[in-house]
Subunit: 267 residues, 2 copies
């Protein structure tokens, strides 16, 4: 098995991979990185094979890694070995995992979603924290959601932080990006209930009249949802707030609501 | 009103405040920082007044800030004005908020908790992410929990990240730190149900036989709970996992469970 060795910090491949930590470069190149054998194995089992696999020299052998290498090479991808220090440079972490994969991003348009394929969909509006975004993907996987729809200017789901927080769900959940007007137009073409956690004109979230496919919408971490977005929802629900605050963390609100919908729909 | 001006980066107060970003220094000094008028107002309304208030020169006047200044001075604390650049140095952020407070940490022993004062308590074991920890505090506030008990080696609830993620709940929720053996001994001295999200010998989380005061236990982000900790629980519950993953984000699991307990106890 032929395998490329990279020994220099100024190697163009190192520079290229490193540049993918930056959103602007990811957008332009349509590529992203995922770190660690666990995440790469999740990807593999979901049918996503990296275009390039970068492994640390002197790593412990592992049957899953060997399987992954074979798949990458069978798909025409490249396998690279390099030093621990160069991996640290690529990932920006002083203690990087022993393996990193570079993936091609996939279609993220609304038209690629199969809404009848799942009873629950998560929708985030202007969610800025990549950890929250990854956590929503992870929750979506857990409740059997079809995917996550990103409205307005959200964090990048392919950032290292979001990919890591998703615990592999970035590879299993569909992801679409759209402006609000596009989303509403697409939503209204077929049956689908849009539900928001809200303080305005809302009913208790427990035993509210949810119907599938149910689209659960949460808003920006500090601003919440714009009033006209809430007004466009089919159902506004409210969760008990027994303390001083009037809101939950966005990813937490999405999860509490998603589990309630899951139970309510008797899924 | 007299007020101290700080103009030099090497001023000892600047160095001292800056050092509080480091856990080791926070522990030694028993002080921590909270940034931003919103957080400081939350603290104020919860009866927590900073020992020192540091404000940017040229900030916009604000009635809440004026009120806060008065309270700090009435309590014998100090009010300091400094440059935007020095505030950036203190907080480590290039775009800091216009005001920072230094607080004294408070008693964090189990014996300080009033368990009968609340029907729900959250318990985290070896939770490493300060954002998750702050999110649990925020959720605790929302469900009317009494506080958060930190078992084994958790992230610092007084770190800037945890304080920020708590959205002020660090000032309203009780916080206690204990070793597992101490916690179990304390727990068993009076009525209290210990509940864990678990995959082992668990019942469905919906409509499980919860009783107050209910202590909801979640484990480390990557390891989960040790098996013997789970075995010591009065109730092990499981949440539906419809995807590839077998677990939720720790703060999400705590929240889904806490809202279920809240409903189940008819609070």
């Amino acid at each position: 098995m032929t395998r490329r060795q990279i020994t220099g910090f100024s190697n163009p491949t190192v520079k290229y991979l490193r540049s993918l930590r930056d959103k602007k470069h990811r957008r332009r190149e349509g590529k992203f990185l995922a770190e660690g054998l666990r995440l790469l194995t999740d990807a593999h089992e979901s049918g996503r094979v990296p275009e390039m696999l970068v492994m640390a020299e002197g790593r412990d052998p592992h049957p899953l890694l060997a399987k992954l290498e074979n798949s990458v090479e069978a798909a025409g991808g490249s396998v690279v070995e390099t030093s621990h220090d160069i991996l640290a440079k690529i990932t920006g972490k002083s203690n990087p995992q022993a393996v990193v994969g570079m993936f091609e991003e996939w279609d993220s348009s609304l038209s690629a979603l199969d809404r009848s394929g799942a009873p629950i969909w998560l929708v985030a509006q202007a969610l800025r924290d990549p950890g929250n975004l990854g956590t929503m993907l992870r929750t979506g996987d857990a409740v059997g959601a079809g995917g996550l729809i990103l409205i307005d200017d959200c964090a990048d789901p392919f950032s290292v932080e979001a990919v890591r927080a998703s615990m592999g769900a970035v590879f299993t959940q569909s992801i679409a990006t759209a402006r609000w007007e596009e989303f509403i137009e697409w939503l209204r073409q077929e049956p689908g209930q849009l539900v928001a956690a809200s303080l305005r004109d809302a009913v208790p979230y427990r035993d509210a009249p949810y119907t599938a496919p149910c689209f659960i919408l949460v808003g920006n971490e500090s601003q919440g949802l714009p009033e006209d977005y809430e007004a466009a929802c089919d159902l506004r629900v409210t969760m008990p707030m027994r303390g001083r605050a009037d809101s939950l963390n966005a990813a937490v609100a999405a999860a509490v609501l998603a589990y309630e919908v899951l139970d309510s729909l008797k899924l």
